[in-house]
C-alpha cells in the first residue's frame, strides 16, 4: 500500500537521487524493490533474470534521476515501465544469443490477457496508486504504450506537475544551499 506520505516523498526522493545522494538510492530500493521484484518475477524467465531486471531498473533510476520529470505523484509506474523495457531488451539479447534470426513475435506487445497476468503479483500496489498513476500503469503495462505516450494521452504535461513536487524541491533546495554554506 502506498500512503500519501510516501507519494509526497517520491518527489523529494527523486530530487535527492538527481543530486547524487546515494542514501536516497538505498531508500528508493527499500521502497520500490519489493514491488518491482514481484512484477519482474511475472515477466522474467528465471530468478537470475529477475535479479538483473530489478537491479538494472533501480540503477536506471539512479543514473537518470536528473532527467526524470514526474508528471504525477508516484515513481512506481515509471519504475514498472522501465522494468518492462529492460525485460524486452533482455529478451532481445537472449534471442540473439540463441539464434541469428529473431522470432517474428518478439517485438509484439503481449496480448491483453497475458499483460494482465504479468500484473498478478502487483495488483494491490497498483490499486493503491492515485487515479492518474493507475491509468499510466494500465496504458503502459496493459496496452504496451511508453510512459511518455501515456502521459500525453492523459493530458499530463511537464507544467502539470503537482505543487507537492514543487514544495519538496523548495525544501530540498534550501537544505542543499544550507549544506553548502
Amino acid at each position: 500500500m502506498t500512503d500519501p506520505e510516501d507519494r509526497d516523498d517520491d518527489a523529494r526522493l527523486l530530487v535527492r537521487l538527481a543530486l547524487g545522494d546515494k542514501a536516497a538510492l538505498a531508500v528508493a530500493f527499500d521502497r520500490f524493490a519489493p514491488t518491482v521484484t514481484r512484477y519482474a518475477w511475472a515477466i522474467a524467465p528465471s530468478r537470475m533474470d529477475v535479479e538483473e531486471l530489478v537491479q538494472d531498473t533501480l540503477l536506471t533510476l539512479w543514473q537518470k534521476a536528473a532527467a526524470i520529470e514526474l508528471p504525477t505523484e508516484s515513481l512506481l509506474p515509471w519504475l514498472l515501465v522501465v522494468c518492462r523495457n529492460h525485460a524486452r531488451n533482455l529478451r532481445r539479447r537472449q534471442a540473439r544469443a540463441e539464434s541469428d534470426s529473431l522470432p517474428d513475435d518478439l517485438e509484439a506487445p503481449p496480448a491483453a490477457e497475458e499483460a494482465r497476468e504479468h500484473l498478478r503479483w502487483v495488483r494491490a500496489e497498483i490499486d493503491a496508486l492515485p487515479t492518474l498513476d493507475r491509468r499510466i500503469c494500465e496504458l503502459c503495462l496493459l496496452e504496451g504504450r511508453s510512459y511518455s505516450e501515456a502521459a500525453t494521452i492523459l493530458g499530463l504535461s511537464v507544467g502539470a506537475v503537482t505543487k507537492r513536487v514543487s514544495r519538496s524541491r523548495t525544501r530540498l533546495k534550501k537544505a542543499v544551499m544550507h549544506d553548502e554554506h
Partner: protein, 276 residues
C-alpha cells in the same frame, strides 16, 4: 516465471542481495559530479559576443562535417555562411524588449574539433556534428570520437545517452529515424562543473550561463514554462529562443539563475523523461 515469487525470509534474502549489488554498482555507473571553481570565461564571452553580433546578421546554415579542424586550429574567417532567405536573421523583439539588436544563435559558423565538445556550437539545427532532422544512426556515429555511449542504463531504444569524463552528458532523441532533439547536460543543475567543456551557442550561452547573461545575449528570449512550479517556488524555469528551425531552451537549475540543461528541438519543452 510460472512459479510464485518467494515469500518471507527467502524474499528478504533476495532483496538484500540485490540491494547490496545495486549500491555497489552505483558508483560505477554514475560517478558523482566533480565540483569545480565557479569560473566564467569573461574574455571568451566578450569575444563571442563580438562574433555573435556579427554572425547574428547571418542566417542559420549547415556546415559540412569536413570543416572539422584540429582543436588548436584558429577559426577561419571564410566559414561564415551567407544569409539564407528562408531564415530570419533575428526574431522580432516584443514591444517591451530593449531596443537592442537581437542576436540569434547561428549554425556552426566556427570550426570545431569533433573530439572536443567544448568547441562545438549549439544552433537551432545542430549541436556540434549532430544535425537535427538528419538520419539518427548516421548522426550519432559522429559522437563516438568525443563520447562513450551508455548502452545499458536506458531501455528506451529511441534515445541514446552519451558520457564524457569532465563534460556534461548528451542525450540524442530519435523520432522516426531522424534526430528530433538533443539535450546537453543532465548534471545537478546547481553544479557549475563542465561549463567550459560543453557546447555553447555561437554567442557563448550554455551550461552555467546566468539568466541575466541570456537576456543580454538574446533580448527576445521568452519564458516557455517550467517544471515543478516557478523558479521562485523551487521549480525549473524554461527560457527559450526560437527561429523557423526550432527552439533552443535553457533550463535553469535549482538556483533559478544558472543554466543546468540545454534542449534543442522543434518544441521548447524537453520530454518529461527519456527512459520510459
Amino acid at each position: 516465471m510460472n512459479t510464485e515469487p518467494p515469500l518471507g525470509d527467502d524474499f528478504q534474502r533476495l532483496l538484500v542481495g540485490m540491494k547490496r549489488s545495486v549500491l555497489d554498482r552505483a558508483d560505477d555507473v554514475r560517478p558523482r559530479p566533480v565540483r569545480h571553481r565557479h569560473v566564467w570565461p569573461v574574455v571568451g564571452l566578450v569575444a563571442l559576443l563580438a562574433v555573435g553580433s556579427v554572425s547574428g546578421a547571418y542566417a542559420v546554415g549547415l556546415v559540412p562535417h569536413d570543416l572539422f579542424l584540429a582543436p588548436t586550429a584558429a577559426p577561419s574567417p571564410t566559414v561564415s555562411e551567407p544569409p539564407s532567405p528562408s531564415t530570419p536573421a533575428a526574431e522580432t523583439p516584443p514591444a517591451s524588449s530593449p531596443a537592442t539588436r537581437s542576436v540569434t544563435p547561428t549554425s556552426t559558423a566556427k570550426p570545431f574539433s569533433i573530439d572536443d565538445p567544448g568547441t562545438w556550437t549549439t544552433s537551432f539545427r545542430e549541436v556540434g556534428p549532430i544535425a537535427l532532422g538528419a538520419p539518427y544512426v548516421g548522426e550519432i556515429d559522429d559522437l563516438t570520437s568525443a563520447y562513450t555511449r551508455d548502452n545499458e542504463s536506458c531501455p528506451n531504444p529511441n534515445v541514446s545517452f552519451w558520457h564524457r569524463t569532465g563534460s556534461v552528458e548528451l542525450v540524442v532523441e530519435n523520432t522516426d529515424g531522424v534526430v528530433s532533439g538533443v539535450s546537453i547536460g543532465l548534471v545537478s543543475p546547481t553544479d557549475p562543473s563542465y561549463r567550459t567543456t560543453a557546447p555553447t551557442t555561437a554567442e557563448g550561452a550554455g551550461i552555467g550561463s546566468t539568466l541575466a547573461q541570456l537576456k543580454t545575449l538574446y533580448p527576445d528570449i521568452e519564458n516557455t514554462g517550467n517544471y515543478g512550479g516557478s523558479g521562485a517556488d523551487g521549480g525549473f524555469e524554461y527560457w527559450s529562443i526560437h527561429s523557423a528551425d526550432g527552439y533552443i531552451t535553457f533550463v535553469l537549475g535549482a538556483d533559478n539563475s544558472h543554466v543546468g540543461q540545454v534542449w534543442v528541438a522543434a518544441t521548447p519543452q524537453p520530454p518529461s523523461e527519456f527512459c520510459g
